[in-house]
């Protein structure tokens, strides 16, 4: 929203602050000045201030609204021009208007003006509109636009000659096409609030008018209407049809229906004055549920509590009154605050507190005091620490961290995924080339690899810790680690690469690492060099050699599900330090198991049978296949805190030896 400094001064005659001071003040009270331009206006030097208007302040999408803010900040008052059109000036004839969509229409004010002389608007008006980036069209349209910027209320002017009967506000029931004032064809799908005559749709209410009743230089008789609608419907219609206009921008927000009458009079005054027409109908006023006066009880101590500094009751009252709130003291030492009808954003005592604090000024609140240190529970999830540990370990091992975007091309997941579940596809990404959420970290690391190869980097061992997304019993996401190593030779080095994986896993505290042939091999992997990474009997990741990326190098990739690691780590009883009094006694034994029997399960049962208080370690030292569909395993069992005799006795008992 732009505003001319001279126009603020017209509305706030006592204002002494300079244009730059006004811009700075508005910035501090919630309207960020993002442009400040010296301009020529009516042969004088002037300033055009560009401001960001808060989303909840539709009242400030107008010159008057912003002037009110300036007046409130400086403790001054706004002097609005008085409407010249008295109520008795309207003619006797009634307008033929019906409102079939009562639920969506808050207020309509309309009248008919005849005998107008349309044509180019005066030079000052054209120049003024150009300052606001609005192209002049003709006198009547330009006045309508001027009033919109000045008051914040949009209007619609319809050429009566082009109309077929009376007006009706209704919900569009069927699919049809309209042509807007700027000659754009819009396909309506139904459920839009429209203004119709007996034959045609004349406007998308609150959004844009139609070419059917557009004003021309020859227009003499018009119906002028201003309205306020149920804003959520206007917002929904504008979004769905993708039409954002000055009107829809305003009418999608909370606008004050009470202020509509004054804005309408202001518009009619200008039309009559500059267009030299006359009122030819009654004033139509549809307003079934007039707005009620709203009050809020404010405990003055709330203002100081929120600000963190003392703000006196007198200052609170003064500030609220400057903002046009009416304040009464109650017997309970609270304040009964009556709101101006246009301050629809104020609903709670906290909103009033903000009004006071922003005008008192945030710069009055000290920023040099750290809050007192109240100890609160640490709720940091363990996964956060795990990820930090993983990154630190890999950096120590000489790996570089990269980050990549998780949205990938639609074929990438087919090539890289090694886990169960379907791809999650976004519905409306503007980046149509990347619709899917990644199912493997390989995608980003491979992109980085190719970029590094193009740039002749000679050292490529990179990792990424990030999210993986899968549709598997609902939308799932988990943290994952991907590692990619590019070796500039053709020598097989998968075992060398796995050492990094193992160093990491051991650093984290996981020892029972083993590998099995990969159950699901991604299509970009060498299927003869792909393995699932196991911790005990749980698959936590995958390690594989990629299909050749160049003809003189080899690329390896590994991925580990960090959420699974965290689960496993949670089950580890971490008691690594102990007192050793006696020597460790290691005894060997042969056991014969069926080929199908899982040695890991056997060892686990053995550990439980001996017990942690006596077993130091157990491992397989030899495997020998027998010819009776059995395998002979030679185990070395190490006992601790037992002497030779005790260890041997226990050993014999456990393995049923004599």
């Amino acid at each position: 929203m732009k505003i001319l400094y001279s126009q603020i001064k017209e509305l706030v005659p006592q204002l002494r602050a300079s244009a730059s001071e006004v811009a700075a003040s508005l910035t501090m009270i919630g309207f960020l000045s993002d442009g400040f331009q010296q301009v020529e206006w009516q042969d004088h030097r002037d300033y055009l201030i560009s401001l960001e208007v808060r989303q909840n302040r539709a009242d400030c999408l107008s010159v008057i609204g912003l002037a009110r803010e300036v007046a409130a900040y400086y403790g001054l008052s706004v002097q609005l021009p008085s409407p010249a059109t008295a109520p008795h000036s309207y003619a006797e004839d009634k307008l033929h208007i019906t409102v079939a969509a009562e639920k969506y229409v808050q207020r309509i004010v309309a009248t008919q003006i005849s005998g107008l002389h349309n044509g180019p608007s005066p030079a000052w008006l054209q120049a003024w509109l150009m300052l606001y980036d609005i192209n002049p069209v003709n006198l009547l349209v330009d006045i309508s636009n001027y009033v919109m910027i000045y008051t914040g209320y949009t209007s619609h002017l319809l050429d009566i000659v082009k109309m077929q009967g009376g007006l009706s506000w209704q919900i569009n029931k069927g699919a049809t096409t309209i042509q807007t004032l700027d000659n754009t064809e819009i396909k309506l799908t139904g459920n839009e609030l429209v203004i119709k005559d007996q034959q045609n749709i004349l406007a998308l209410a609150g959004i844009v008018g139609c070419q059917t009743v557009a004003l021309s230089q020859q227009t003499t008789d018009i119906i002028v209407e201003m309205a306020i609608y149920e804003r959520s419907l206007i917002m929904e219609n504008a979004r769905r049809l993708n039409i954002i206009t000055e009107a829809s921008n305003r009418l999608s927000k909370d606008l004050d229906p009470e202020g509509l009458a004054w804005a309408f009079s202001f518009l009619v005054d200008m039309l009559l004055s500059y267009g030299q027409g006359k009122l030819s109908s009654q004033k139509y006023n549809y307003y079934l549920h007039p707005a009620k006066t709203r009050t809020i009880i404010l405990d003055p101590s709330l203002v100081s509590a929120i600000a963190g500094i003392a703000i006196s009751q007198e200052k609170i009252v003064e500030t609220l009154e400057n903002l046009r709130f009416v304040v009464e003291r109650t017997v309970e030492n609270s304040l009964r605050v009556t709101l101006p009808s246009d301050r629809l954003d104020v609903q709670l005592p906290e909103d009033l507190a903000e009004e006071v604090i922003r005008l008192v000024g945030y710069d009055h609140i000290s920023k040099d005091n750290l809050p007192s240190q109240i100890v609160t529970p640490d709720i940091t999830p363990s996964i956060y620490h795990l990820k930090d540990k993983v990154k630190d370990c890999l950096v120590t091992l000489g790996w570089d961290e990269i980050l990549s975007q998780p949205l990938v091309a639609s074929n990438i997941n087919e090539q890289t995924n090694w886990q169960p579940g379907q791809s999650i596809i976004t519905q409306n990404s503007v980046n149509e080339d990347y619709p899917d959420l990644r199912q493997s970290m390989a995608s980003g690391l491979l992109n980085q690899l190719h970029s590094y190869l193009k740039k002749n980097l000679d050292y490529i061992q990179i990792f990424e810790v990030g999210r993986i997304y899968t549709q598997h019993h609902g939308y799932q996401e988990h943290d994952s680690l991907g590692l990619l190593w590019h070796d500039f030779s053709l020598e097989p080095k998968l075992n060398h690469f796995k050492q990094t994986v193992e160093q990491l896993l051991r650093h984290l505290g996981l020892a029972d690492i083993n590998y099995v042939e990969a159950k699901k091999i991604p299509s970009l992997a060498n299927s003869y060099a792909s393995y699932d990474i196991m911790i005990g009997d749980r698959s936590v990741g995958i390690i594989y050699k990629l299909q050749p990326q160049t003809d003189h190098s080899t690329t390896y990739f590994a991925e580990i599900n960090l959420d699974l690691l965290l689960e496993l780590l949670a089950n580890i009883v971490d008691k690594p330090a102990m007192e050793i009094i006696k020597k460790i006694v290691a005894l060997d034994v042969n056991v014969k198991l069926a080929v199908k029997q899982d040695i890991r399960q056997y060892l686990q049962k053995l550990r439980e049978k001996i017990g942690a208080e006596k077993l130091w370690d157990v491992g397989v030292t030899d495997i020998y296949p027998l010819d009776n569909n059995k395998v002979r395993y030679t185990l070395r069992v190490a006992y601790w805190e037992l002497d030779d005799r005790e260890a041997k006795a226990l050993h014999n008992k456990i393995f049923d030896l004599q």
Binding site: T27, I29, G30, S33, D34, F36, Q55, N56, S232, M235, S252, A305, I306, G308, L348, E350, D351, A353, E354, I357, R358, Y362, D363, I365, S366, K367, N369, L370, P371, I374, T376, D378, I379, T380, P381, Y384, D388, K391, V395, D400, E401, I402, L403, S404, Q405, P406, L407, I424, T426, Q427, N428, S429, V430, N431, G444, Q448, S451, Y459, Y475, E477
Partner: protein
Amino acid sequence: MEAELKQLKEKLASASTAEAVALLWQKYLGKQGSIKLLVKALADLPEAEKKIRGPLLQSWYQEAQALFVAKQSALSQASLEDILQAQAETLDLSRPKIGHLHPLTQTIRLMNKIFIDLGYSIMEEREIETDEFCFQRLNVPADHPARDMQDTIYIQEPNVLLRTQTSSIEARVLANYKPPFKVVAPGRVYRNEKVNKSNHFIFHHYQGFVVLPTASLQDLFGTFNHLFKKMYGPDVVIRFRNKYYPEVEPGVGPDMQCFSCQGHGCPLCKGVGWIEMGGAGMIHPKVLSLAGIDSTKWRGYAFGLGLDRWVMAKYNITDIRTLLGGNLGYKYHQNENTL
């Protein structure tokens, strides 16, 4: 005997093995050794001659013994040297590569450290969010004008989406934990925007929120000031202005005086002298109520900072796309020039 001793010295000097020394011992000091026999012959001499020649012979004999001890010691030393030489190893003198954390990670860790020192927890949450936690619980119902502030990427419109803000983490924590708490939450967010040098559809936020029995704007400003001074040094100038966000009331816009022009206005700050650093404010009582927290007993503040531009400024990165792949590289042997 003097001649014998001289001869022994010469032969010992040329002996290079333990075996050769043993043979010489046998020849000179063994039972039938020449020097040994001379010493034994002393017993047959008259007493007077014994007194004259005895001490001299004895001293030569001891000298001969000492020569052998010294020679054996030298040979033993030489043998260890051979072993050590045979087991010699050389160091690979190639310089080790150093690994690197991503600039975003480094910045997040720096900020985390500041807040951990202030007693904050660090939280993470899902990126695939629901409309309820991304918007509704943050006082942004479906028809709220603020919906236009964020273009959402949907997974399943209208309810399942990629979070547009890390405030959704705040909504989750408010719903799942009982106050008091102090939390920071770095995270990735998504907006449906075209990608170019300055904009990406993925960027990074640093969210913070506090819910305590008492909390005020002064506490928020003090926290922010502390953060900025830690990040940018004690001379940094910041200001707070009123700004609208639906999830807070009052809302705050923290700005940092432009470090390029010191507030005079330049292209970097678009001529205004200040750089917007994010958003903040007192948590809206409706947000607390929607999470089942009694807003008459608890008060909180929240803030959100965009991380990408901080990182770009710090590392002289001119294209936001660099942060998520492609052009980001690391220089090795950083200490080469200092060695």
